[in-house]
């Protein structure tokens, strides 16, 4: 289901704002879709477009230097708020593959990992350097759990072992759960009270 990802090499686009919530990533009025496709055009919609529908030329993703960037460097606590999985769907559909921050909200992180979008949390020093050096080429190595800056300096990032394995192998976690159906059935039969 998800595309396996071992390593990502890309220039960065830098969005320093803190606490960017999923309503900004994709506003609620676009959630009336019944598909997960084609949401890239709605990504950061109300920051990206003026009220008349024209592009806001100042907005990060509309600037020429952002073209082709697959890594977003964001301020602290990216992806807070609503649980909408439309947020990572929109980011991926737009062409982004990773976000780097000092904190990433729980539900957004979980949704991202299930879609092969990389939520990367780095230390303050690495983050500060990335914020101050937009457009630099960064290597995210999922297998090694490291991010390497143009200087060659590396920093490791925390990632759940199981999530890392699924990303590298392109494994759909539903299959893992289905393989435990006997254990699930046994739990249902032997628990002391029934819901």
């Amino acid at each position: 289901m998800i595309q396996a990802i071992h390593q990502l090499v890309s220039r960065t686009a830098v969005m320093p704002a803190t606490d960017v919530d999923t309503d900004q990533i994709i506003p609620a009025r676009f959630l009336t879709t019944t598909s997960r496709e084609g949401l890239g055009s709605k990504l950061f919609h109300d920051w990206r477009y003026e009220s008349d529908g024209s592009e806001n030329a100042d907005f990060l993703l509309n600037r020429p230097e952002s073209a082709g960037c697959q890594i977003l460097v964001a301020g602290h606590n990216f992806g807070c708020g609503s649980s909408r999985e439309h947020a990572p769907w929109a980011l991926l559909d737009y062409g982004l593959r990773a976000v780097i921050s000092t904190e990433i909200a729980d539900i957004f992180r979980s949704n991202s990992l299930k879609n092969g979008f990389l939520p990367i949390v780095v230390d303050d020093e690495t983050h500060k350097w990335l914020l101050e050096n937009p457009g630099c080429e960064v290597t995210i190595d999922v297998e090694q759990s490291t991010i390497t800056l143009p200087s060659g300096q590396s920093a490791s990032f925390p990632i759940d072992e199981f999530a890392r394995y699924c990303l590298i192998e392109g494994i759909d976690q539903l299959g893992f759960l289905q393989n435990h159906s006997d254990a699930i059935q046994q739990f249902e039969e032997t628990r002391t009270w029934k819901p």
């Binding site: 919530d21 309503d23 506003p27 009336t32 649980s83 072992e161 976690q173 254990a183």
Partner: protein
């Protein structure tokens, strides 16, 4: 595990639902007792089931409603209800089809039990202490008020639960938030949770399950406790929980989905045993003095940017995100919010749409008028609450004051069902998010309690509700 080690409420519920415990290599497999579903975050999950040829494993543990993209326009019959927009209408039809095809119970338009998903779960008694409850909605934390472990999930996980009734989860950390003392008149559960978020920040709970405890929490009604737990996610927390007690039991007794007879007595004994053991350790503890809390209002674009209604807006303009928020809100540092003219007042949402919320707003509005130029919407959380409010005449108080009385739904909380705040207008809202554009493109939102919302509607600017209480007594 050594049973003599004191356990927290969370740890008890967690350990009772482990199909498999976590290891360094694999997350825990957590069994889910109740899966609440709605029209917005499920269609892609049903598509996945269909593609894989999978049934829903436990239709009996799945309960559906329609709330997010449904209109709240008053109608004589739900046959007359026109969903706003083609894609929203399609989504509603898909929800009906999916529930029918997979054999799931749906409280659709014709059901007298339809309402906001986090309102009807407790109302029907589907929400019970000790259950694991999930929904594709971050405000699922609401159900933690009953001592359930309840949290929001994404659509992929909705698919996992539909297919296997389980989720892969890492065990979160625990955070105890102790609210001591007694709340003053005019200070409500909403003010408590806003003050907590102001204190710990919008990421203060990240990675944690909160247990709210202390005298001020114990004194709260179930509806007030739901308001507190509802906004746990606004502090970034995975879930919020409150230990079941006699208040919980009294609320649940006789509701249609709770056990009856001998099973009821067994359930009550089990529920009352869930409270955190004396000496149980939390990863983190925060203490708040309930005696000194005041009515709270937000001034920025996240729920952590919050002040007592009597304060002036702080000045942190050195911080670019803070400056951007105040620019968006058109609010000046150093000035009180009472100088901000209000265009819209919204009483509703899964945070504050229950009967006691409506009663509190009505107590202030009774015999008074909504100020000229202010549009006030009152949206009950469910059709049952609507019926109850009408039976005690609250609807007439609202209508006579000049407010609109609507059908139930999420309404103006999230601007995806036709109820929106026009661009640039200032809204005082009892909902849970003051994010940019949350209530409509360019809408400016101030979060407040139902009392503060009602007082602000009367005065036409952000107002302290407490003078109205003194007049009343």
């Amino acid at each position: 595990m050594n049973s003599n080690v004191p356990k927290t409420l969370f740890e008890k519920v967690w350990s009772q639902h482990l199909v498999n415990d976590e290891t360094p290599a694999t997350p825990a497999i957590l069994y889910i007792d109740l899966h609440l579903i709605h029209e917005v975050t499920t269609p892609q999950a049903f598509t996945l089931l269909r593609e894989k040829g999978l049934p829903v494993r436990r239709p009996d543990l799945t309960l559906g409603t329609m709330d997010h993209s449904t209109p709240t326009t008053p109608v004589r019959s739900f046959k007359d209800l026109a969903v706003v927009g083609e894609s929203a209408a399609n989504q509603v039809v898909k929800m009906q089809q999916n529930c029918k095809e997979f054999g799931l119970q749906l409280h659709g338009f014709e059901s007298e039990f339809r309402g906001i998903v986090h309102v009807i779960g407790p109302e029907l008694g589907a929400t019970q202490p000790g259950k694991t409850i999930v929904c594709g909605d971050s405000h699922t934390s609401t159900h933690g008020a009953f001592g359930a472990l309840a949290f929001g999930i994404g659509t992929t996980e909705v698919g996992h639960v539909l297919a296997t009734q389980c989720l892969l989860q890492r065990k979160p950390k625990t955070l105890a938030i102790e609210v001591s003392g007694e709340l003053q008149p005019g200070v409500t559960a909403k003010d408590v949770i806003l003050a907590i978020i102001g204190e710990i920040g919008v990421d203060g709970g990240t990675g944690h399950v909160i247990e709210f405890r202390g005298a001020a929490i114990e004194a709260m009604s179930m509806e007030a406790r739901m308001t507190v737990c509802n906004m746990s996610i606004e502090a970034g927390a995975r879930a919020g929980m409150i230990a079941p007690d006699e208040t919980t039991i009294a609320y649940l007794k006789g509701r249609q989905m709770v056990p009856a007879g001998k099973t009821w007595n067994e359930a009550v004994a089990r529920w009352l045993d869930l409270r955190s053991d004396p000496g149980a350790e939390f990863d983190k503890t925060v203490s708040i003095n309930g005696d000194t809390l005041l009515p709270m209002v937000t001034f920025g674009t996240n729920p952590g940017m919050v002040i007592p209604v009597t304060d002036v807006v702080p000045d942190s303009t050195g911080d670019a995100s803070f400056r951007k928020a105040l620019d968006y809100m058109q609010i000046t540092p150093g000035k009180p919010l009472s100088q901000s003219r209000v265009d819209v007042v919204f009483v509703g949402s899964c945070t504050n749409s229950r009967i006691s919320d409506l009663q509190q707003a009505a107590d202030i509005l009774g015999g008074r008028k909504v100020a000229d130029g202010v549009r006030m919407l009152v949206v009950p959380g469910s059709q049952q609450i609507k019926k109850e409010a009408e039976s005690i005449g609250l609807d007439r108080i609202f209508v006579e004051a000049g407010a609109e009385w609507r059908e139930s739904g999420c309404s103006m909380c999230l601007g995806m069902n036709g109820d929106t705040v026009p661009s640039g207008q200032l809204s005082v809202s009892t909902s849970n998010r003051n994010f940019e554009g949350r209530q409509g493109i360019g809408a400016r939102t101030i979060l407040a309690s139902p009392m503060t919302a009602a007082a602000s509607a009367i005065e036409g600017h952000v107002a302290d509700p407490r003078p109205y209480l003194q007049v009343a007594s």
